[in-house]
């Protein structure tokens, strides 16, 4: 009896320790976003004060920083630019990726394997390796300081991974299905639209989320290719308009960051399972 009780006690203690460690991890992960949100609602006076406990709002919350963002900075323009860049980038990338994935997973032809591997390898090329020659190319095309340069360039960062993700989903569709459809006289386009796309909806959602994320949170390309505030997107614009020389307007910066985070975070909240399946497909399917 006593031995069993001791073992149960030890198990409870182990479980408790487990909870405590997970709790510490969660605090570590959540503190920066919490601090971001908290700062955005604090008055400037409180932000620049060393009195009291900083983890809560002591002197009343304010929406002042959000108001200023809309009335005193070009935040709305940046937001609009981010949307104007992201929507076409997602559409273009998805169309290109779906076509490529269909060809690579379903149409037997010499070189499919080589092209498939090449596409995967291209995904591993980081943006910081190519931004200087791209800067020159964008300049030659006369698109320097234009947000449309991003629409042109971003799909190259998205298509390789999205194609690869979709190949995985397409490959899981049984071959008998398309043979049956071909015998019934369907052509490849009908088959793609009527059979593949409906079955691969989870894959399409995961790939779309990936495309959205790359385009929405991209920083190096917009930083290098655009400079005037009418062309900047959220990631670069919020920063440049709220840092004046050495002076950081932390309240406004954090408010801008919160609003810029919202679209990806909301997407994540509603589509978490697709998000995770897309994220982990990279490592578990390779």
């Amino acid at each position: 009896m006593a031995a069993r009780g001791a073992r149960r006690g030890r198990r409870t203690a182990a479980l408790l320790l487990c909870y405590v460690i997970i709790g510490l991890f969660v605090v570590f992960f959540l503190f920066p976003p919490y601090w971001m949100a908290l700062t955005s609602f604090k008055t400037n006076q409180e932000i620049e004060s060393l009195e009291g406990i900083p983890f809560v709002i002591q002197k009343g919350a304010t929406l002042r920083h959000y108001q200023d963002l809309f009335t005193k900075t070009d935040f709305l323009i940046y937001f609009k630019n981010s949307v104007l860049v992201t929507v076409p980038v997602v559409v273009i990338s998805m169309v290109i990726s779906v076509l490529a994935a269909y060809a690579l997973s379903r149409l037997g032809f010499a070189g499919a394997g080589v092209i498939g591997t090449a596409v995967f390898l291209v995904y591993l090329v980081p943006d910081s390796l190519l931004f200087i020659p791209l800067f020159k190319i964008i300049g030659t095309l006369g698109l320097l300081n234009s947000k449309w340069s991003l629409v042109l360039v971003y799909p190259s960062l998205i298509v390789p991974f999205a194609t690869w993700l979709l190949i995985g989903y397409f490959a899981s569709i049984p071959k008998e299905l398309d043979e049956a459809a071909l015998v019934d006289g369907a052509n490849h386009l009908q088959m793609l639209v009527q059979i593949f796309l409906p079955v691969a909806v989870p894959g399409l959602i995961a790939a779309t989320i990936f495309a959205f994320t790359v385009s929405w949170s991209g920083f190096l390309y917009p930083l290098a290719f655009t400079f005037s505030s009418d062309q900047q997107v959220l990631t670069t614009g919020t920063v440049t308009s709220l840092i004046k020389g050495d002076v950081y307007h932390w309240g406004g910066l954090m408010a801008g960051a919160i609003l810029a985070c919202l679209p990806p975070v909301l997407l994540y909240v509603f589509l978490m399972d697709y998000y995770i399946s897309g994220l982990t497909a990279g490592s578990t399917k390779a």
Binding site: F29, M36, L104, S128, I132, V239
Partner: protein, 305 residues
């Protein structure tokens, strides 16, 4: 009238195969054009720029390896190279260790697991530049909330200048990188763990293996393929990282925290010396190439075993 399958098939099949081939190339054309224009061509142009004297607005001419020679004798470049290796090595070890630890913890059944998993992935969801600004504010020289906490806990007696000291600022950047990277490791490894049958653990437990032995003898070897791929992605991303250093320190203080990418940006775009910037950025390539080749070789070996 019904088609007679026997008679029609050879011709139909032949035509279909013929069709499939041209259709495949047609469907792949947009991808190939896109990747040729914005990946392959920039790469070749980058190589050309690195052996030329081009600056913004000036085409330049062939100068051989002069830019690489200059970079090699540049102490900031050497610091950047050293930093990049150190940054990648140290953060990868921490991300892997903490990621596996967290994945193993999350692989148990407990209440609120879904919510916890959602929270864990948050640093990965928030666009990096934005969360990095939150960290920059947390590292503020005057109002650092981290200093406030450490002060109240009696762990420090003077202000810690997180981003002002050359050594400490590199550590600060590493902390943020680990914060940003652990979720990706943990969630990917958790997906890998879920494919390992619990029966293996039960069998090992019956044989008298303790938790530590079970991890190293059962979990680790079975998780290794997933681990290698996750490490491959992470090492490439970290080695070529730009955003964290650019936002947190801008390469400073006194150019002490540059990585290849941030120094290439400062020289290539900031100063307009395209050719020298291209050379610095291209210096990353041999390492990236080697990492990819090694990992692919390893993955193939595991797969065929």
């Amino acid at each position: 009238m019904l088609p007679r399958p026997g008679a029609a098939r050879p011709a139909l099949l032949g035509r279909l195969l013929e069709d499939e081939r041209s259709l495949a190339y047609l469907l792949l054309t947009p991808t190939i054009v896109l990747l040729a224009l914005f990946i392959a061509y920039p790469f070749v142009l980058g190589v050309w720029l690195s052996v030329s004297s081009a600056t913004v607005g000036v085409a330049g001419h062939f100068v051989g390896l002069k830019n690489f020679d200059k970079a090699w004798n540049d102490s900031i470049f050497r610091t950047a190279a050293f930093n990049t290796f150190l940054y990648t090595g140290v953060t990868t070890v921490f991300k892997l260790a903490l990621g596996i630890w967290l994945a193993v913890l999350l692989n148990r059944h407990f209440r609120g697991k879904r919510l916890i998993r959602a929270f864990v992935l948050l640093p990965f969801i928030i666009p990096t530049v934005l969360s990095t600004f939150a960290w920059k504010w947390m590292f503020d020289p005057t109002f650092s909330v981290i200093n406030w906490g450490l002060w109240k806990l009696d762990l420090i007696t003077a202000r810690v200048n997180w981003l002002g000291d050359p050594y400490l600022s590199l550590i600060s950047v590493m902390i943020v990188n680990v914060w940003r990277g652990v979720p990706f490791f943990a969630i990917s490894l958790l997906a890998g763990l879920q494919t390992i049958s619990p029966e293996l653990h039960e069998a090992a437990a019956i044989d008298g293996a303790n938790a530590w032995q079970r991890f190293w003898r059962v979990t680790w070897p079975l998780l290794l393929p997933v681990t290698m791929v996750v490490v491959l992605f992470s090492v490439i991303q970290t080695f070529a990282d730009f955003q964290l250093v650019y936002v947190l320190t801008g390469g400073g203080p006194a150019n002490a925290t540059h990585l290849f990418a941030t120094y290439a940006y400062q020289i290539g775009v900031g100063t307009g010396l395209l050719s020298e910037g291209a050379a610095i950025s291209l210096a990353m390539f041999p390492v990236l190439f080697l990492v990819v080749v090694l990992q692919l070789w390893y993955i193939r070996r595991v797969e065929t075993r």
